[in-house]
């Protein structure tokens, strides 16, 4: 095993780096945009604090459409948009665009579900104390839902790793693409299996870290 891995050591490290870039930007997009979108989805629902059926239905539809796309088709469909943003549709940087789009849709839905689990009474108490919407979000909702939000991010991160494996289609590289090109296409099944093992270990680590952290911060 180690002979094969050391033979391709340089390429493997580059591929892992590419996966980290794609997944890292996806996590960033999920946190910076997915979290607010999910919060907004929750707050605009019927019976919630800033109930707005038009905004909720529109956002809900957009999130559903993005999540309904088979990811490979989404990557192809977004090529013109990617070119507009990055200037090219090929390469790791270009690959981060569809990754970020799916990350936002994916995480926002999980955020909405996490916030739905916060007892309604907590928000009611916050309102009775004269809390503003911003106060309710940051001092009550996120605090009470924090372990669920961490677990959702863990699930999302694992999905992003999975999505990143097909980014070779637009020259995005990554460890999955390496397994296909060097393992499958060059008939090096052993190399492909070793890469799969590396990915399994990586996913296990992410899952373990996520669960441990979520458990640590959950005091309910």
């Amino acid at each position: 095993m180690f002979d094969v891995l050391s033979e391709y050591q340089a390429e493997i490290w580059v591929s892992i780096g590419e996966t980290f870039i794609m997944v890292g930007f996806s996590i960033l997009a999920a946190l910076l945009i997915g979290l607010p979108v999910g919060t907004f989805l929750f707050l605009c629902r019927k019976g919630q604090l800033i109930e707005n059926q038009v905004v909720f239905s529109s956002l809900n539809l957009i999130v559903n459409i993005i999540r309904s796309f088979p990811f490979l088709l989404l990557v192809i469909f977004l090529i013109p948009f990617t070119r507009l943003i990055i200037g090219t549709a090929i390469g790791t940087a270009a690959a981060t665009v569809p990754m970020c789009i799916i990350a936002i849709a994916h995480y926002s839905r999980l955020v909405e579900q996490s916030l739905l689990d916060v007892p309604k009474g907590v928000m009611e108490a916050a309102v009775s104390m004269g809390a503003s919407v911003k106060d309710i979000i940051f001092k009550f909702l996120y605090v009470e839902a924090r372990s669920s939000l961490v677990l959702s991010m863990t699930t999302s991160t694992i999905s992003f790793i999975s999505y990143s494996t097909i980014m070779g289609v637009v020259g995005g590289g990554g460890i999955g693409d390496f397994a296909i090109r060097y393992g499958y296409q060059q008939f090096r099944s052993d190399l492909m299996i070793y890469i799969i093992i590396i990915m399994v270990v990586f996913v296990q680590l992410v899952q373990y870290a996520g669960i441990t952290f979520a458990r640590k911060i959950d005091k309910r």
Partner: protein, 249 residues
């Protein structure tokens, strides 16, 4: 202090409150009693506009409350604190943090916050549990934390929505004693909703009986008042049996 004038509230096709008028005097402990679905919690929640009335006026200290919006409404709510049957504490915050959040919302200077929180926790007898989380507390302790959170901003009114319904008799007595002290020592007006006649009799000065979204009667609790209330309860049952459409208010 608080006057409700012809307030009504409908949830979909269900008429929860029908043209209720009620006056809560400053400094009193006022009970609202009635069976489940009588509309007493809805009425209480309209006093701080957690529920907005469809019709009628809510007047607090001469100021019509139900037209307030934004910052003014939030500020007014801070003078009308509330506790609930389910405590509604934030499970991921310690006892201290659950209480201090009320001061942060009221924009109390940071340097004053710790002293005020400790004073409030001392009042309810929980200062030694300040670093515990709600999951580590009993029901009675959780309710006392909720009371500490409610009084830390020195409100003028405390709205209590079935605060003892989930508690055993001993713990109920402890919580009622804390409420009595809040009323006597700080002059806080208390409006207490309950379906338990014993709770209401033990702490309230006046009691409003509700049924089917309407006020049936308001009774003064005095030496003869308890008997009067019990008589009223009997009449009230008769009134309900006859359809409850006779005007008794």
């Amino acid at each position: 202090m608080i006057t409700l004038h012809n307030v009504s509230k409908r949830f979909g096709t269900f008429q929860a409150i029908t043209s209720v008028s009620l006056h809560i005097k400053s400094g009193e402990v006022h009970g609202i009693i009635g069976a489940s679905g009588a509309g007493k919690s809805t009425l209480l929640r309209m006093m701080n506009l957690i529920e907005h009335p469809d019709e009628g006026e809510i007047i607090v200290d001469g100021q019509t409350f139900n037209h307030l919006k934004g910052k003014q409404l939030r500020h007014m709510r801070q003078t009308l604190a509330m506790i609930f049957q389910g405590y509604h504490l934030v499970g991921n915050k310690t006892v201290f943090d659950n209480v201090v959040v009320a001061l942060k919302l009221a924009k109390v200077p940071k340097k004053e916050q710790t002293a005020k929180v400790m004073e409030s926790l001392r009042f309810v007898g929980l200062e030694s549990l300040k670093d515990q989380y709600p999951a580590q507390l009993s029901g009675g302790q959780k309710q006392r934390v909720a009371i500490a959170r409610a009084i830390v901003t020195q409100p003028r009114v405390l709205l209590c929505d079935e605060p003892t319904s989930s508690l055993d008799p001993n713990t109920t007595a402890e919580v009622l004693e804390v409420l009595r002290r809040i009323n006597q020592e700080f002059g806080v007006t208390i409006v207490l909703v309950s379906h338990d006649m014993e709770v209401v009799k033990s702490i309230c000065e006046r009691v409003t009986v509700m049924a089917q979204g309407q006020v049936y009667e308001t009774v003064q609790i005095e030496p003869t008042g308890i008997q009067k209330l019990e008589n009223s309860a009997e009449e009230f049952v008769k009134w309900l049996r006859t359809g409850g459409d006779e005007d008794r208010v």
